[in-house]
Amino acid sequence: MGNFYLDNEDIQFYFKAIDVKKLAEIQEDYAENGDADYVPYDLDDAVDNYRRVLEIAGQIAADTLAKNAEQVDEEGNTLNDDGTVTLNPKVRENLDKMGAADLMGFTLPRRYGGLNCPTLIYTMATEIVSRGDVSFMNMFGLQGIAETINAFASQEIKDETLSRFCTGEVTGAMVLTEPDAGSDLQSVRLRADYDEATGQWLLNGVKRFITNGCGEILLTLARSEHEIEDGRGLSLFISERNECVKVRHLEHKLGIHGSPTCELVFTNCPAKLIGDRQRGLITYVMALMNGARLGIAAQSLGVAEAAFRLARVYANSRCQFGGPIENLPAVAELLTDSRVSIEAARALTYETAAVCDQEHNAQRVTETVPDLPKEKSMPLKRLMKSLKRLNAMLTPMSKFYSSEMCNKVAYDAIQVLGGSGYMKDYAAERYARDARITNIYEGTSQLQVVAAIKGITSGIFQSYVEEFEQTVYEDAELEALKAQLVSAKEKVVQGVEFVKAKSVTYTDLNARRLVEMGCDVIIGHYLLKQAALCDRKKTVLKYFMAREMPLIEKNLLQILGGCQLAVDSYLEIVGPVPAAE
């Protein structure tokens, strides 16, 4: 009987580091409860509920998901001749357990049977689930589909679907990618035609790389306006699984074998429109993707935590040269680096989740509560707008930082285990394979950088960080570390000014460096706040600063160096295109 929540002090620490009660307050404000009999009595009760829910998730992750993970990885799922998919029995068991524990409607309103938990708590649960089985997070984490339905679909569609998500009876898929529309979703071609005779939409075309495409509820991005070629011609549709949609192919992947990745063929599939025409990509999918990106950041934390723990146990028990290998400085550094990186990424991801909560709830209240007094609605609207801009930077930053982090941590875990880590005998290789997808799907790291850099060049970064700089710490040591962060921020600003003055191309080329610098400064402030609460965190902060501040310096020097050869001398350096074998 393990528990991936109770054994993780750092996750529990966030009940202190973040004002969870405040999040509960905005979450419960105008909450639609229907006739639910599990409404919290007050805010403390709500916070207590969050802990209890995480405890349940922690138990299932340890006792069921983690135990099933190896077999799921080995066997995967099965594609049947009739274009359906049979889930691995262990995946089925995982789903049944989570559904029976009421964990499949985490953030949905109680009127549909949901738990009405804040995004922060859902993010924690996602991390915990992913530590048990990274691939299962793709089932658990698809709750964003239900959230999208809740946010944008008609009441009729909500009533039809949402309670079934909450019980775990159905799972969903976001059906976006096509063979020729991956990162560039504007070029989606799958056709949606309105059939006047039957009064319904019909979908035709092919989708590829669809996570859980064999799920019961599909949210499909399709071109409803055939004369408009860009994103404004796309709408979002919902359909139930039926024989007009066939799974043509199940991908053979490097990792996350438990998550079925499907190629789907739509043949006159009847579907219903979600919300308004033409807002499919620009409004709905963008909202969906933002939530999904935060989910991947949490998934990254989970796999990193699993890999780190495995490596730590091994380094502690494996003896060479007369003692455990963790006594060797080189190994100690690998593990310290991993642990600090996980905590840094967790700070960024959880703080971002809390900002999401503020934004979502401000939006929910302003949009759904009729007759909201002006003195309440105006500040909420203003808050929502500014948080939206902030989130447009923080969410891609979290996804970028955490996914890159987990790849490094999983890679280093294999290194700690040495030859044993390379073998299938340990889970280290599975973690590394599973981690590899996180900086690819829901937008590659390169795309996250494109999204995040706007916030850094537009001044959002600067004003956000300067708010943190206002905090005065009693501890002189913390004040000194804060001064380092102020100077680091100035380096980011200096870098931004330099690239802007040079060219757009040069800005693009250095975006990654600037985003890395920005992440470090923001995380530094989060850790500073935590260090004031906890001595151990102060040590973590010191390590983080000692490691990262020179990198900020290095990044700035590289930016100021002005080298653009990767673009200007591309052909000369990379040489001719190699002959196809």
């Binding site: 639910a36 009999d37 138990q59 357990k97 049977g113 738990l115």
Partner: protein, 306 residues
């Protein structure tokens, strides 16, 4: 099995209310966590220092509860849990509600203190009779504090119903005029399949199933549930209004004969408590011949092992 799902099972209680399916009563116990015993677990007098031990849900009782819940989920009916103990034992009742039990009863009475298995089984049998209208009584095989495995079978004796011990699987249940169950029981070196007429008492072992985790919404609701002894009378009123006041019974509520309860009803006397450290003292090799085995058996008999 599928066919039986279509047949309704009718139970009619005293008030004439008809319910469908199989009604189970599960006897559960809060026990000291003997796996985490600390040095102050025993008092100098040699009795168990209960206050120094963390308490847990008796492990095999969880499997008994799971068996009952599975039967209800498949065939309909109800699951009522009953426990005997101090007010704090309401913890295990709440844990049952978190997993989906329909009704929970705490039997708490100072006059029941110091009951041995004979008195306990008498009290529980009276509680089961008071609850009434049942097809199954489930117990864990044994509790980790006393390790006797006597209470379940003794309850069956007192209720004068059949008993099946060491359940591993409920293979089948049949309704109709005479309800029966087909059960696979573990007999140590194999299994035995038995048919039993209901109502029957069944004791369950831990290989029977995997207890389900808590359901979040049931936790959110029932964490507030309490027995009257845990709350003030005013709070009890407000809990009652919300349907969260758990039943709390005394020996009077179950018409118990006080001479059969507590110390008076307990012929078992603890003579002495010893701390025994098991040590290995070499081994004996037995020839795999008729003579060798005979000698071994005789030795075991003379040592009263057999």
């Amino acid at each position: 099995m599928r066919k039986m799902l279509n047949c309704a099972n009718f139970n009619q209680d005293r008030n004439g209310v008809i319910s469908v399916g199989f009604n189970s009563i599960v006897c559960v116990k809060q026990v000291p966590d003997t796996a985490n015993v600390t040095s102050d677990a025993m008092t100098p007098e040699g009795t168990v220092n209960r206050s120094a031990l963390p308490t847990i849900f008796n492990p095999e009782d969880l499997h008994a509860l799971e068996t009952a819940l599975e039967i209800r989920d498949r065939f309909g009916g109800t699951v009522t849990v009953v426990t005997m103990g101090p007010p704090k034992a309401a913890d295990v009742l709440r844990a049952c509600l978190y997993r989906g039990a329909d009704r929970a009863v705490l039997l708490t009475d100072r006059r029941a203190a110091a009951s041995d298995t004979l008195a306990t089984s008498y009290i529980l049998s009276q509680a089961v009779k008071t609850i009434g209208n049942f097809d199954f009584v489930f117990c864990g095989r044994q509790a980790i504090d006393g390790d006797t495995a006597q209470t379940g079978p003794q309850i069956a004796e007192k209720l004068e119903i059949p008993q099946v011990t060491y359940l591993e699987e409920v293979i089948d249940v049949k309704d109709g005029a005479a309800k029966t169950a087909r059960i696979r029981r573990n007999i140590g070196n194999g299994f035995e399949i038995v048919d039993v007429q209901l109502p029957a008492l069944i004791t369950v072992i831990e290989t029977a199933n995997e207890p389900r985790p808590f359901a979040a919404k049931k936790v959110m609701r029932n964490k507030h549930a309490a027995v009257p002894a845990e709350v003030t009378p005013e709070d009890a009123e407000s809990l009652k209004a919300k349907g969260l006041l758990l039943e709390q019974w005394t020996l009077d509520d179950i018409n118990a004969d006080l001479n059969r309860c507590g110390l008076a009803g307990s012929p078992t006397k603890v003579f002495r408590v010893e701390s025994i450290v098991l040590t290995k003292e070499g081994f004996t090799e037995v020839e795999p011949t008729e003579e060798g085995i005979t000698a071994l058996i005789q030795e075991l008999i003379s040592e009263r092992t057999l």
